[in-house]
């Protein structure tokens, strides 16, 4: 069984974020990056399947040189191979462009299962996994909070509104985009990192994958024109009273605002 895990490297949760010069994205120089936490759950799920039997885990990521560290961390955690799509021409791609790159990798590798995080913590589109599944032509599900396998069939609990779960079954090959908290993500061990040096980490370009004319800012149908920090509120309201009174007032307020 071959499992492909899509990883994205995103700014570290503790990084101080400043907006770049033209106001279209954050300033990425001199900040720390880490693997998107949703994707770490996807990787852990793949490694659990590997631990349970025969499976090869391939991790794939798109981005500049710094992404190598994310892939090496994944290899240190136990992944078997990595593919780094490193091509400045891909910069400026929208979700569809990224999905086309990943789909090209998937078509070369023919995985039995593709695992991805539900969304990335920087852009929050949650768009790439379904697009990828569609481009590859395989079934998919999102927001999986439980994944079980049996004879090529996956049964997934997916989170829906109101605290309920929906149970879906998928025939492999398929794609599952996982919700956070699905499992307990392991740490890369120092021994694993040392062993990872001997594991293959292939670097590819969009041209290598045959998608050079479908990626980059020129091909993007969606572009970010401006980002801005959230406005600071100046209408804070202090709720006072006993705990019961405060709780009652909060519920009333929440209802007034239409949040429930």
């Amino acid at each position: 069984m071959k499992i492909m895990v899509c990883l994205k490297q995103v700014p570290h949760q503790d990084a101080r974020l400043d907006i770049n010069g033209d106001g279209t994205w954050i300033q990425e120089d001199n900040i720390k990056f880490e693997i998107n936490s949703y994707d770490t759950y996807a990787l852990e799920e793949a490694l659990l399947i590997k631990d349970a039997g025969e499976a090869e885990v391939l991790v794939v990521s798109i981005g500049p040189d710094r992404v190598t560290q994310a892939l090496r961390t994944a290899l240190g955690m136990g992944a078997d191979r990595a593919i780094h799509v490193n091509d400045p021409e891909i910069q400026g791609s929208d979700s569809l462009g990224m999905a086309k790159v990943l789909a090209a990798v998937a078509k070369e590798e023919n995985p039995d299962l593709i695992l991805a995080g539900l969304m990335s913590e920087d852009a929050n589109y949650a768009a790439v996994p379904p697009m990828l599944a569609e481009l590859v032509g395989i079934p998919h599900t999102t927001a999986a909070v439980k994944v079980e396998r049996s004879n090529g069939t996956l049964t997934c609990d997916r989170e829906i509104e109101g605290g309920a779960n929906e149970v879906v079954t998928l025939e492999a090959p398929c794609l599952v985009a996982v919700q956070s908290g699905l499992n307990q993500v392991r740490y890369a061990s120092l021994k694993g990192i040392m062993a990872a040096k001997k594991k293959p980490l292939d670097v590819k370009t969009a041209a290598d994958l045959g998608v050079a004319d479908q990626v980059g800012a020129g091909a993007a149908k969606v572009s970010v024109t401006q980002i801005a920090p959230p406005p600071k509120g100046d209408t804070a309201e202090l709720v006072e009273g006993s705990p019961d009174e405060i709780a009652a007032k909060l519920v009333t307020k929440i209802k007034e605002l239409g949040l429930l």
């Binding site: 560290q69 090496r72 740490y187 990192i193 040392m194």
Partner: protein
């Protein structure tokens, strides 16, 4: 000569930093203190899964087979997290001491257990005689003059001593030295203890660098939050300069510690000189940062609820460990005043 760490060494550091920031929080440390302990078996087991206790255990004994150059950044992280585990004695000192003893039976019995997280080894050196976490140790390596004694804890009298850092609980160990416990003596023993002292002081210096970095971070974060005269106090020049001076001391100390790690790993002739310079530089930086961080925090810095004292205690206790500053300054003085002292930029790496 390369003066930077390679990608693997930096990835080791990042990995341990991420682990400790999640698993060794101030809440975890405080819980251990509340329960009158510092060592937490579950945390030690997790560290063993990562490979930390076995950093310097040879691969032939199921360890990581690393050198002090590989491990110095990891000890920095232990200091940054104020890790309340006996990593200096067990990982930095005992493991290589057991290797260098040349006693195959002893090494075969204990090194795999250290690497696997199944054994804690306490070390008592005449320069640093109080044994950290002796009460939870499985083996004690103790000095009597030039002799190395391997002592079973249940055959020794272990007496708790006052300690200002509850994460480094100190014990006096009384034992009957004899043929049954002696595993080295004479020149061999003297050489082993000299190497052990340098390794302990190096690991303590590295932890002090990490602790200093954390003290500066805590003070800088507080200076950003605390408002006075309608502005964060960090915007005032006097506060900025205090923290900038801490940072200068830290960044002067850090390469000295890294140099010492190289000297220990390569057993260069000036190893002890470099280690003493590192210990003094790191301890001075940590003491200075402690005082300045406390000033930045004001009265709040004295409170139990503020986390600042966790790292201040670590800075104070590590200054005392593996040779105080006066001891190491004396060693530096002796070496630089020797007629044969190799000093000056043209001699820095000559002969290595």
């Amino acid at each position: 000569m390369r003066f930077t760490f390679d990608e693997d060494q930096l990835l080791f550091q990042t990995t341990l930093r991420d682990f400790l920031s999640n698993e060794c929080t101030p809440e975890v440390i405080r819980k251990a203190w509340d329960e009158g302990r510092s060592h937490t078996p579950a945390l030690w087991a997790q560290l063993a899964e990562l490979g930390v206790p076995g950093l310097l255990v040879p691969e032939a004994h199921d360890g990581m087979g690393m050198s002090e150059i590989d491990s110095v950044l990891l000890f920095e992280e232990a200091g940054r997290a104020a890790l309340p585990e006996p990593v200096i004695a067990t990982a930095a000192v005992a493991a290589p001491l057991l290797v260098e003893l040349g006693d195959e039976a002893l090494a075969g019995e204990w090194l795999p257990r250290i690497g696997g997280g199944d054994a804690i080894v306490g070390v008592g050196h005449e320069v640093s005689p109080l044994v950290v976490d002796a009460d939870v140790s499985h083996l004690l390596l103790l000095q009597r003059g030039d002799e190395v004694h391997a002592v079973a804890p249940d055959s020794a009298e272990i007496v708790a001593q006052p300690a200002n850092d509850p994460s480094r609980r100190l014990f006096k160990v009384n034992f009957d030295a004899g043929d049954a416990t002696r595993v080295a003596a004479g020149d061999a023993g003297r050489s082993l203890w000299a190497a052990a002292l340098d390794r302990g002081a190096l690991a303590a210096a590295a932890q002090l660098v990490g602790a200093t970095d954390k003290l500066i971070t805590l003070a800088a974060e507080y200076a950003e939050q605390r408002q006075q005269f309608g502005k964060p106090i960090g915007s005032f020049q006097a506060v900025k300069h205090m923290l900038a001076n801490c940072k200068v001391k830290l960044e002067y100390a850090r390469p000295v510690v890294h140099r010492a790690a190289h000297s220990v790993a390569r057993s260069v002739s000036d190893r002890s000189l470099h280690v003493s310079m590192a210990k003094v530089a790191a301890a001075d930086a940590a003491q200075f940062a402690s005082r300045q961080a406390l000033q930045v925090h004001g009265a709040l810095g004295y409170t139990w609820e503020q986390d600042l004292h966790i790292w201040m205690r670590r800075a104070w206790s590590l200054e005392q460990a593996w040779g105080r500053n006066d001891f190491h300054r004396s060693r530096v003085e002796e070496r630089v005043l020797e007629a044969s002292a190799r000093l000056g930029p043209g001699r820095t790496f000559r002969g290595e």
